[in-house]
């Protein structure tokens, strides 16, 4: 519909912010921006939204995504597909572009990361529980290592202890969710041949704890990206809203 309007506009009038068409695009873009922004407030008012039957979260998300993309199109139509000349207008233009592009990046991350995590890892964890779980693993591993023979304790102190201290982010997980895990586990195999059957069993338990920790690291790395992305998206969107309000005021005032 927007593209149809654009074609009709191109025949009937100039495409730019000063025409009635352009002002219409601006009003529509602002309305859409506010409506899209409501998605963020929905999380804070989930109970009210649920009680008033205002749609499922999925519907809100889809509206947020498609509405945001449409907002950018309306904005470009409003500016006549030209780079604005004023400072305020340029700031709004940059922030709009930035917000929508980071939103699209976030959308891509939300499509890719859950799929990647589910494809190569044997465990699912909540991001917020990662420190607790690693602490639990460390506690278990330390307790187990204390009951092992000296070579295993040395091996633990040298190769495992620092890894179990806390969550680690590793770049390799962005490229390969199982990246480096097998190579690091192979060190356990070298030691295993020199141990008794009982110690081999304990080493196997330590190996499982270590592997779980590495998989939690993978979760931590990718899930952290999902949360960090919001720092690029949300503040810019809020600043954009403030500038749009200022823009509307100046339009009416002047």
């Amino acid at each position: 519909m927007c593209l149809g309007l654009l074609v009709a506009n191109s025949f009937l009038d100039e495409i730019g912010p000063y025409t009635l068409w352009g002002m219409g695009y601006g009003i529509a873009a602002t309305t859409l921006l506010v409506a899209v922004f409501l998605y963020a407030l929905r999380r804070r008012s989930a109970r009210i939204v649920s009680r008033l039957s205002l749609g499922r979260a999925r519907s809100w998300l889809y509206f947020h995504i498609y509405g945001g993309a449409l907002f950018l199109l309306l904005l470009l139509m409003h500016t006549g597909f030209r780079f604005p000349t004023g400072i305020l207008a340029r700031l709004m233009w940059f922030l709009s572009l930035w917000t929508v592009l980071t939103g699209l990046a976030g959308l891509a991350l939300q499509r890719w990361i859950p799929r990647a995590l589910a494809s190569g890892l044997s465990i699912e964890v909540l991001y917020d529980r990662v420190p607790d779980l690693i602490e639990e693993i460390r506690r278990k591993a330390e307790a187990l290592a204390a009951t092992c023979a000296e070579p295993i304790q040395t091996f633990y102190a040298k190769n495992m202890a620092h890894t179990l201290e806390g969550p680690d982010r590793r770049w390799i997980y962005y490229l390969d969710i199982t990246g480096g895990v097998q190579a690091r586990l192979r060190r356990f195999d070298y030691l295993r041949d020199f141990l008794s059957t009982e110690d081999q069993s304990k080493l196997g338990e330590l190996q499982r704890l270590y592997k779980t920790k590495l998989e939690i690291d993978a979760h931590y790395t990718l899930q952290r990206l999902l949360r960090t992305w919001l720092y690029a998206h949300v503040p810019a969107a809020v600043m954009l809203l403030a500038l749009v309000a200022l823009h509307i005021f100046t339009v009416f005032y002047y």
Binding site: L230, P235, V238, M239, L241
Partner: protein
């Protein structure tokens, strides 16, 4: 004693990790919103500081002003009025010194500009502010006058110049020069006489560009025609002298004796120019352009047939002019009346002097009305048309008067045309396309005259080139009555989207230009609808 630990809800994974005992609320994004709000507040604070403290207005401005308005960069209120955008009055305060009282930038004037058609004037309910078509803050190099075609086509239903633009109105129509003129024979003789090598050289002998190169200087008999026409050997035919029982013309002595207004010229005319045969016939030689004796007799003959000539009685030539030239008729009539009045100034009677004072006052009043842009020209009843001949004369008498007039004006009719016993007014300025601008100088560099003005037929000028002999059989195949204007396709050869500019404003102007304001017919500005 160790504190009692809560029981686990269960375990997951190969290493039996405990399931969370409590529901984990999603992490609040309050910090993210806080960051955004802080950033937004900082920006708003900067905007406020820029506006109120630094007073540059740069942050809120939609962009730099155009070069012409750059001086107002820091003075927003020069153009902007709070809560009222940019009223046109603010523009007019500079562009028309104080305000646009004449409404030069109004739609009224746009409708009238060049067209002169009062029927096209509509109430200005849809009047748009200047900024609608001339948006500012587009950068220093922006040209405010570059109004896009869509502004025009929103009212004028033409798609573009390339497609949908109507044919030129003047093309193919007989013009109103009222001259009998053959270009081919004139060009032929001129090329031979002045040894010209190119046809275009012949064109510019008469069609001389005015100072700005857009159009041509008005044609002038003394400058362009006198060397060949109305030589000393030219005379009127022998004409019957009017008497009580005979139709005819007045002699110089009769005119002097009549002492009617407008006959002062007769005292300065050489009697030897007249050859009188008894009291029956008279002829005159040499003749002058706008010869007063011929025009006076012609006016007298016209008065006999059309006694209610009205304004026409005060004019030397016809009253049929385009709307944009009507004002000139009134001014000429006033001039004639003033001449009549001046002739009576030497009379000693006090009553006449008093009447002359009153006439002088009336003429000043009329001139004042002409100068007053709020007085529409068409509301006056000053102009009466030569509608129909008088009923007092039979058709045979009228026929005789026409014959005498034709004989009287025979030397004139070699070039001029006569209608209703009146020499028709010549359109001297050679302007044909009233609604568009055209710059001949800028075009002549790239194209010859005949590349566009090619309506004389393909053979005519080719013949001149080769033989330089007058084409007797083709002399009347061309003439001033042929506009010889190029049609729109000729313009489209160059003015197209991929070549020279073809926007509306390439040729047309919305507002009366400072130099073109004389084209405002009647000038009914804002007061027009209130009257």
């Amino acid at each position: 004693m160790p504190a009692k630990r809560k029981r686990h809800k269960g375990f997951f994974g190969t290493v039996a990790l405990p399931v969370s005992r409590n529901y984990l609320n999603p992490r609040s994004h309050r910090f993210l919103f806080g960051m955004g709000m802080l950033g937004g507040l900082l920006l708003l604070a900067y905007a406020a500081a820029d506006f109120f403290y630094f007073q540059t207005g740069h942050f809120l401005s939609n962009g730099p002003l155009s070069s012409a308005h750059a001086v107002h960069e820091r003075q927003c209120d020069s153009c902007h009025t709070e809560w009222n955008s940019v009223p046109s009055d603010n523009c007019a305060s500079c562009h028309e010194d104080v305000s646009d009282e004449l409404g030069l930038y109004s739609f009224d004037n746009h409708y009238l500009y060049r067209s002169g058609d009062f029927n096209r004037v509509v109430p200005s309910e849809n009047e748009m502010p200047c900024a609608t078509c001339h948006p500012e803050h587009q950068g220093r190099d922006a040209a405010l006058v570059d109004v896009p075609d869509q502004r025009c086509t929103s009212c004028h239903p033409y798609e573009s110049f390339s497609s949908g633009h109507p044919a030129f109105e003047a093309v193919g129509k007989p013009d109103d020069t009222s001259l009998t003129f053959a270009h081919v024979s004139h060009v032929t003789e001129m090329m031979a006489e002045r040894d010209l090598q190119h046809l275009e050289q012949a064109c510019i002998q008469c069609h001389q560009l005015d100072d700005d190169g857009r159009y041509f200087k008005p044609l002038n008999f003394e400058e362009h025609c006198d060397s060949c026409h109305l030589t000393t050997s030219v005379a009127t035919p022998r004409l019957p002298i009017a008497s009580a029982d005979r139709l005819g013309v007045l002699t110089l002595a009769d005119i002097q004796a009549g002492n009617v207004p407008g006959s002062l010229w007769s005292y300065y005319t050489n009697p030897n120019e007249f050859r009188q045969v008894g009291n029956r016939f008279v002829s005159k030689s040499p003749l002058h352009h706008r010869d007063p004796w011929i025009l006076a007799n012609l006016r007298r003959l016209r008065k006999q047939v059309y006694p209610e000539g009205g304004l026409a009685d005060l004019l030397t030539t016809g009253v049929e002019v385009p709307p944009h030239e009507q004002e000139a008729l009134y001014r000429e009539a006033i001039q004639t009346l003033e001449g009549y009045a001046e002739e009576l100034r030497s009379r000693p009677e006090q009553e006449i002097q008093d009447d002359l004072d009153e006439i002088h006052m009336l003429l000043n009043w009329i001139r004042h009305d002409l100068d007053d842009p709020f007085v529409p020209l068409d509301e006056t009843s000053f102009l009466l048309a030569l509608d129909r001949p008088t009923d007092a004369l039979d058709s045979q008498t009228i026929e005789e008067i026409h014959e005498i007039a034709n004989d009287l004006a025979e030397p004139c009719l070699g070039c001029h045309q006569m209608k209703k016993l009146t020499i028709q007014r010549v359109q001297k300025d050679q302007r044909t396309m009233r609604r568009a601008e055209f710059n001949h100088r800028s075009h002549i560099i790239q194209r010859g005259c005949l590349d566009c003005h090619d309506k004389f037929g393909p053979d005519a000028f080719a013949h001149i080139k080769e033989m330089r002999e007058p084409l007797e059989d083709q002399v009347f195949h061309d003439g001033a009555e042929i506009q010889n204007l190029p049609d729109i396709e000729s313009c489209r050869d160059c003015h197209s989207p991929k070549a020279a500019s073809n926007t509306c404003i390439t040729c047309h102007q919305f507002h009366p230009s400072p130099s073109g304001r004389t084209h405002l017919v009647g000038k009914p500005k804002r007061g027009f609808h209130e009257r």
